[in-house]
């Protein structure tokens, strides 16, 4: 297992919201190109950990972080790290689809535009839109109405668009914070299939409340409890032969 390329490695990550300690020394290695799911009961720190990976936690108030989080070998808490460049490489998808109040087209090229030094040619933008929408399976449905407002799409399409929005920036990692909790069964299935089709090229880390989803839609699973990492294993192994009694009790539904 150690020969695989790693996208994220953390060493002794501790995090406080004000005085409350939300993460109590997390050590984890997340492999490149795999889907890793974070599970655990509410308040266990899984979303907090996810938000550490692009340092967006710092936008949510009084946060202190210690320890080391290396992305592709670079500690992202080093002083010379630009948050702008970091977030370009580590995109995030949210619980509720949050397309920007722009057209479908402008949503997809938003990232390109804000990161472009000079204005981009229409052709480049068109290519980026087609590529990103094709990759997310939206192209055939939306290619004739790229100028429609993204806000009027179905939720499932909105969520796919939020993923498509990240792709033109060629991210290393896509973070997903319960991306299916606002979607119905079909929408959930569609997003999960999309995750599988994106895996390999991108590292995906997904937080989910839904254990069945973690089981269906991830290569590896991390179980967290009260700010600590309890167990990290291949998804199959974690669900079939959990090593820790707290893990087995959680996946049996004894608490959570």
């Amino acid at each position: 297992m150690s020969d695989a390329r790693l996208s994220i490695t953390t060493r002794d990550v501790k995090l406080w919201y004000g005085k409350f300690q939300a993460l109590k020394g997390i050590n984890v290695d997340i492999k490149h190109g795999k889907i890793t799911s974070l599970i655990g009961p509410s308040g266990c720190g899984k979303t907090t950990l996810l938000r550490c990976f692009n340092r967006v936690n710092e936008r949510y108030g009084n946060v202190t972080t210690t320890g080391e989080i290396k992305l592709l070998g670079k500690n992202i808490y080093d002083p010379d790290v630009s948050l702008i460049e970091l977030r370009k490489a580590v995109g995030m998808v949210f619980q509720r689809p949050n397309p920007l109040p722009l057209s479908i087209y402008e949503n997809v090229v938003f990232g390109l535009r804000i990161h472009a030094e000079k204005s981009l040619s229409r052709g480049d933008l068109d290519d980026a839109v087609e590529k990103a929408l094709t990759e997310t399976g939206l192209w055939s449905d939306l290619k004739d109405r790229l100028n429609d407002r993204a806000i009027n799409l179905q939720l499932e399409q909105q969520q796919k668009l939020c993923i498509a929005r990240l792709l033109p920036l060629k991210p290393e990692i896509i973070l997903m914070d319960e991306p299916c909790s606002a979607l119905d069964v079909d929408g959930t299935r569609a997003i999960e299939e999309l995750m599988w089709s994106l895996a390999g090229r991108y590292t995906i880390v997904i937080v989910t409340h839904n254990m069945a989803q973690a089981r269906r839609a991830s290569d590896e699973t991390i179980f967290m409890l009260l700010g600590e990492l309890i167990e990290h294993a291949r998804t199959e192994d974690l669900f079939l032969t959990p090593r820790d009694s707290r893990t087995s009790e959680y996946i049996e539904g004894r608490y959570g």
């Binding site: 967006v56 977030r87 370009k88 995030m92 109040p101 990232g111 804000i114 990161h115 806000i151």
Partner: protein, 305 residues
């Protein structure tokens, strides 16, 4: 309840004395609220009706576009009307950009610490300062200390200081109404704050911002005290029909001070004159507010979420 298993419960949905009592309170409450509404609406209708009845006879295009004559007993109100336009225009050119940009800073950039809280408190309090106090400040700071003399500039600056806190407050509200999820989406693709503000926040709050600014126009147009000390003059003839008949360093007449002068300083002024001036002022305010409503509904229609 203990009931034999086969007993059918009897439905009793009829009124009880207690129900009737509740309904009585309901009626009384409703009546009180309705009376309060009448207390607002009736005086408004009476005031407007009275103004129109008394002043309408004098209103004409000529009334609006000629200078007052015969010791302000006859003629029109041109110099006062244009003066009000100038005061409103210049003060808005000062207060709108400063107020809006300050609000953007306070809402988007400022961290929530004691200093920001003090500034916010100061803004709220400044909005509550009586206009006569602003007038004294304007007299001291602009007319005397800055050697502007009594002028449109000094009066407009005083009005701008007066309206700025309200513009800041309304702009902040408009900015805060932009959903946080849009900002989150921007942060997470690496947008800077300025990119977020320019591309997403401002386009989606511009209707609220503009409404707030325009509503201050009507307030500025009606103010009397601040300009009386700082730039309004009792009487002044200007070129008729020339919108630039005033210079920014001139003193000017204004509708509000003109009304005050005609009613209190000019003897034997026709009764209808002051009502006509008031009617023009009121018409101006209504016109501006209507514009605000139209702009808002137009921009809302274009809103993208």
């Amino acid at each position: 309840m203990n009931m034999p298993a086969d007993a059918q419960p009897v439905a009793q949905f009829g009124e009880t004395p207690f129900t009737r009592k509740k309904q009585r309170s309901e009626k009384i409450a409703r009546a009180i609220f309705a009376v309060m509404v009448a207390c607002i609406v009736i005086p408004l209708i009476v005031i407007i009706g009275y103004l129109v009845k008394e002043g309408y006879s004098l209103i004409s295009w000529k009334f609006l576009t000629t200078n007052p004559t015969h010791g302000m007993r006859e003629g029109g109100i041109w110099s006062a009307l244009l003066g009000t336009f100038w005061l409103v225009g210049v003060s808005l050119c000062i207060s709108a950009p400063i107020g809006v940009l300050a609000a953007v800073y306070l809402n988007e950039y400022a961290k929530d610490n004691w200093f920001t809280r003090v500034v916010n408190l100061a803004v709220v309090n400044l909005a509550g300062v009586p206009s006569i106090v602003h007038a004294l400040f304007g007299l001291g700071a602009f007319v005397l200390f800055a050697h502007m003399g009594r002028s449109i500039l000094a009066a407009s600056l005083t009005l701008a200081i007066m309206t700025m806190p309200v513009i800041i407050a309304s702009t902040k509200e408009a900015l805060a109404a932009v959903p946080r999820q849009f900002r989150e989406a921007c942060w997470n693709v690496g947008a800077t704050k300025w990119q977020t503000i320019w591309r997403i926040v401002l386009p989606n709050s511009i209707s609220g911002i503009l409404t707030g600014v325009i509503l201050q126009v009507s307030r500025t147009a009606g103010e009397t005290a601040p300009i009386m000390f700082t730039g309004a003059v009792f009487y002044r003839r200007i070129e008729e029909g020339n919108l630039f008949a005033y210079n920014i360093t001139d003193q000017c007449m204004a509708l509000s001070t003109h009304l005050f002068a005609v009613k209190t300083q000019v003897t034997n002024a026709p009764e209808a004159l002051s009502f006509a001036i008031a009617l023009v002022l009121l018409g101006l305010v209504v016109f501006v507010n209507l514009t605000a409503i139209l702009i808002r509904s137009w921009l809302r229609g274009r809103k993208k979420w």
